[in-house]
């Protein structure tokens, strides 16, 4: 993996970690059939944290992040998001999902709706926002991700990078308090990676709580306040990025870093 240079100053004035807890995971376990994917996960995320989750393929990063908005069900332990515990109660699940934004590797825009409709759909139907207000808000976020002029096109007419930025805008339209990213840039060409990362950096600068599975170590170094390393369904190591990259403690981490950074 390359380390993409981030060529701008990052404004850290609003990147503050508060004491308030955004996500709390206690002793969480998950199995796919007999396969133990997530093993005894304990994690506390405070509001304003920017966490990068790294690890080899198949280590359970996606599964972990998808458990946080109940796209996957966990079998043991406790997940509390924004003060609401994730149980099989559909009310809680829908509530949490509308508070937590998620971006996927393959964007998953709705191809039968225009960009604007993609962005207004959930606010109108889930939040019952009036259509006009929802459209204004959508345009605001589309401007923020720098594609307001594409609002009336369909997703199929946009480049990958543009589609991913629309996907981010679509999540933001729900005014989420937490954003989850599952390898948002790994389906993209290098120039497009940069535009998406820029958008994510801007989000971080506004103080958004972010959990991000990514192989972009430049982003991890400069934006994250904590890096979590997973292997075989376990959290093997977590640390501040500086320490994590320069002074990895566990052997697995060292091995992984030497592979990914090509040392």
């Amino acid at each position: 993996m390359s380390e993409l240079a981030i060529d701008r100053e990052i404004d850290r004035s609003k990147m503050q970690v508060s004491d308030e807890i955004a996500i709390q995971i206690n002793g969480m376990n998950k199995w796919y059939g007999a396969f133990h994917v997530l093993r005894d996960i304990n994690l506390t995320v405070n509001r304003g944290e920017r966490i990068v989750i790294a690890g080899p393929s198949g280590s359970g990063k996606s599964t972990l992040i998808r458990c946080l908005n109940a796209l996957e069900e966990h079998q043991q332990g406790q997940i509390i998001v924004d003060g609401t515990e994730l149980t099989s109660d559909l009310k809680n699940i829908d509530k949490i999902r509308s508070e937590v934004g998620m971006c996927f590797q393959h964007f998953n825009l709705f191809p039968h709706l225009t960009i604007l409709e993609n962005c207004t759909l959930a606010p109108i139907w889930v939040r019952k926002t009036p259509k006009k207000e929802a459209e204004e808000r959508a345009m605001h976020f589309l401007e923020k991700v720098k594609i307001p002029d594409q609002a009336h096109k369909y997703p199929g007419m946009l480049s990958g990078g543009q589609q991913q930025r629309v996907a981010i805008a679509r999540s933001l339209c729900m005014k989420p308090r937490i954003m989850l990213f599952d390898e948002p840039t790994s389906a993209l060409d290098p120039e497009m990676i940069k535009e998406v990362l820029d958008t994510m950096i801007e989000l971080a600068e506004e103080g958004m709580t972010m959990l991000c599975v990514t192989h972009e170590m430049g982003f991890a170094r400069q934006v994250a306040n904590r890096v979590i390393f997973m292997a075989d369904g376990q959290i093997v190591e977590q640390n501040e990025p500086e320490e994590f990259f320069n002074n990895p403690k566990s052997e697995r981490t060292q091995q992984f870093l030497s592979q990914i950074l090509g040392h």
């Binding site: 908005n69 109940a70 796209l71 559909l90 829908d94 509530k95 999902r97 509308s98 937590v100 934004g101 998620m102 996927f104 393959h106 998953n108 825009l109 709705f110 191809p111 039968h112 759909l121 959930a122 139907w125 889930v126 369909y154 997703p155 199929g156 007419m157 679509r170 999540s171 729900m174």
Partner: protein
Amino acid sequence: MSEQNSVAFVATESIPPSPPPSSQVGAVKWLRENLFSNWQSTLLTVVSLLLIFQILSTLLPWVLNGVWTTSSLSECRDVLQGKFGACFSVLTERWNQLLFGFKYPSDQYWRPTLAFVFLLIAAAPVLFFDLPRKMLAFTVAYPFVAFWLIWGGTLMAPIVAFLGCAAAAYVFSAYGKTNFALGFIGAIAAALVVWSVGAVLIPEGANDSAILEHVPSRDLGGFMLNMMLGVTCVSLSIPLGIALALGRQSNMPLIKGLCVVFIEFVRGVPLITLLFVASVMLSYFFPPDATVDLFLRVVIMMTLFSAAYVAEVIRGGLAALPKGQYEAADSLGLDYPQAMRLIILPQALKISIPGIVNVAVGLFKDTTLVSVISLFDLVGMIRGPILGGSAEWNGVYWELWGFAAVLFFVVCYGISQYSQWLERRLATDHR
């Protein structure tokens, strides 16, 4: 090499556009490219032209010499005097029978005709969704209006039918949000309660003093019957098919099992068997004194039959959608009905259009099977009263069956053209 191939080059003048050479445009080019490009295609062209000429040289005189105004086949023969020509008089003379059957009161033909005109208005906003949404109010009222127009009788019947549906809709919208199954079953129960109370309330003999003379189902017939069966069954089987397809995907084992068994059973049985069941055996399932209308029984069977096929077509559409669409809908906090209605079904149905149209066209043509259980639809009319039952028209096969073919072709071709338009209209993914 020469200087032209040197790396640096700057255009010194702009080249103006000019028309293409004359051999590249017009009819001559088209003919040469498409019909006479080599000797094989030239041969094929010539053979095809000969064949078309042969067919037309038989068909055209037959149609053009056609006799339209006589009152029996023998009179046709007299008029034609040995010339080769059709006897279309049967169509003009039996026009009303072909369209409405032979028992529908002839002074009431305006009623089904009006119902047909209303059908066009009611179907328009469903088929062409750019039309104002307010027109849907008429579409909702249409089934009850058409029911009253065609069957006549007491006004209470369509009103009770409407109230039952309204009660079902109310119950579903009140409880369906929180618990889909509860809302669904409650809705059916509400409708049944309203209908049975209504049936008790309608006084005996209310049909005798009605504004519109009551016409029993047995007296319906002709192409009208085909249209009624086709329109009713297609429009009922699509929602039912969607429900079955979603049920088959359900993670509740009971619902899933029921849907699978139903679909597999119905698909494994010929329609004609189901129709016989409808005509004779279905009465065993109802209380002995309840006479469930034959038309209703046929509608139920045909709807169930095509719903199973529609369900399988839609299941294909659902399976073709990437999992990411479900996940994106979930992650935005849409609940199941919203995700289905706004995200999944629009895309799955779009994929399924050709398949659904296939089922619809097939079903429409299969409505002629009711002639086997002695209902006099268009085919039943031609086979029975007109060809078999009348001395005047015994033997005018080509004209009658040709007419039936043309009627069905017009409708089916219309459906297929509509579906192609719809596919183009909905094409938004520019992959």
